[in-house]
């Protein structure tokens, strides 16, 4: 399969990249790992007139802890997350998600930032970032602005990013000293998209839930925050009753469709079971 012709740019600075994006408007696409964009171009679902390859911009591949939170540069590959000691414990939702994304070869190229900007409702990072309350940094002609991931997704493959903006960083806030989380994914085989995925992230204060994040993959037009379930947990002890109720509310928040991967009823039930399991794992992680 052959993509349509395009002009190819490899800028070495964000400013240079921004100028090219401004020149081409919505006819340009940013190329990071390319593991979603290039297949779309081969299928001619996407035919950008210009590709702006940001792999030549230095400093975008940093993954670091800062002020108790995380900074994830736009070019951090899934494989870098898979091996990172930073993404354990309090940030277990991220560390558990990374090795479940696609397959090992794709993870060598694909990026966290690219995955978010692509906004596939079956993407895994979107749910994880919703659960941990992350925000993205968008660099544009007027400088940087931050967008909470909770407001980032407009619909399938559609985000708040403007054509002239580049997602440069993801910031994960400090969840406090006691926090835990995980990502559970049901897939038919390695490399398949999620039938259902559930990200769970809980901050504890004084033995009860401070903030709970629960988000769902593959069961809606975007990654979905299970807001009612999150709110029901706030201030509660994470006991069987609270977990059961949150799982029921998360299943209610899901908007699954019956397809080859499963029926609506089945997927909803998986959301319930995964939310339960995820909360139990978070409770264990947060008690360490």
């Amino acid at each position: 399969m052959y993509p349509a012709s395009f002009e190819y740019f490899v800028p070495t600075t964000l400013e240079e990249a921004g100028e090219i994006l401004e020149r081409f408007g919505d006819e340009a696409k940013v190329l990071a790992g390319g593991q979603s964009l290039i297949p779309l171009m081969k299928l001619r679902f996407a035919s950008p007139r210009a590709l702006v390859d940001v792999n030549g911009i230095k400093g975008l591949d940093r993954l670091s802890e800062e002020g108790g939170g995380l900074r994830i540069g736009a070019l951090v590959r899934h494989s870098a997350c898979e091996g990172s000691e930073l993404l354990q414990g309090r940030f277990g939702a991220l560390g558990d998600a990374a090795p479940q994304i696609s397959d090992p070869i794709v993870r060598n190229r694909g990026t966290v930032g690219g995955s978010l900007a692509h906004a596939d409702p079956q993407g895994d990072w979107g749910s994880v970032m919703l659960a941990v309350g992350a925000e993205v940094v968008a660099h544009g002609p007027d400088g940087d602005r931050t967008i909470p991931v909770a407001e980032f997704f407009d619909g399938p493959f559609t985000t708040k990013l403007r054509p002239s903006e580049i997602l440069t960083e993801i910031r994960v806030p400090d969840p406090g000293p006691r926090a835990g989380g995980t990502y559970l994914k049901l897939e038919r085989k390695v490399g398949d998209f999620a039938t259902v995925g559930v990200a769970v992230h809980v901050s504890f204060s004084n033995g009860s839930v401070g903030r709970a994040g629960i988000a769902l993959t593959g069961v809606g037009p975007t990654n979905l925050a299970a807001t009612a379930a999150e709110e029901a947990l706030a201030g509660k002890a994470l006991d069987d009753e609270a977990i059961g109720e949150a799982a029921r509310l998360a299943a209610e928040a899901a908007q699954p469709h019956t397809d080859l991967r499963g029926t609506e009823e089945y997927k909803r039930n998986v959301v319930r079971v995964f939310t339960e399991r995820g909360l139990r794992a978070a409770a264990e992680g947060g008690s360490k």
């Binding site: 696409k29 297949p39 090992p104 493959f157």
Partner: protein
Amino acid sequence: MTEVTAAHEGVINRPISVTVNGQERSAIVETRLLLVHFLRETLGLTGTHIGCDTTSCGACTVLVDGVPVKSCTQFAVQADGHEVTTVEGLATAEGLHPIQVGFHEEHGLQCGFCTPGMMLTASALLERNPSPSEEEIRWALSGNVCRCTGYQNIVKAVQHAAAALGGE
């Protein structure tokens, strides 16, 4: 996502220079040329196979700067200034690479279509982890699909190579 539009007119070329199996290779290529087509058609290195062409099967796996990537999901222009290793680069004048010996000795292939990608992924694994467990081998190869062998002998082939390289 960009809306579907008619293919843009004209051919857009760009010069590239890629070190392939230790040799610098320069060419003027279309920007839209995939790395796998550059290797197979421009350079005539047909050891890299095109399987699914949809980023699923791993048959087209090559190493870029030592890291396994699917060459059907990368443009040749992206490899400009980088080092690419294909299956043709595994053997040396002294003989086969230990991973190739492993596949030979352990009957790690039947039709052979997935084998180049398997061997490159496995060689990168052994670079990183000289004595992988069976679990680690299976995990590392989980992006490479084989429809013949059931993977048993592929795993044995990698273990054979690990032992030959002195990892065990």
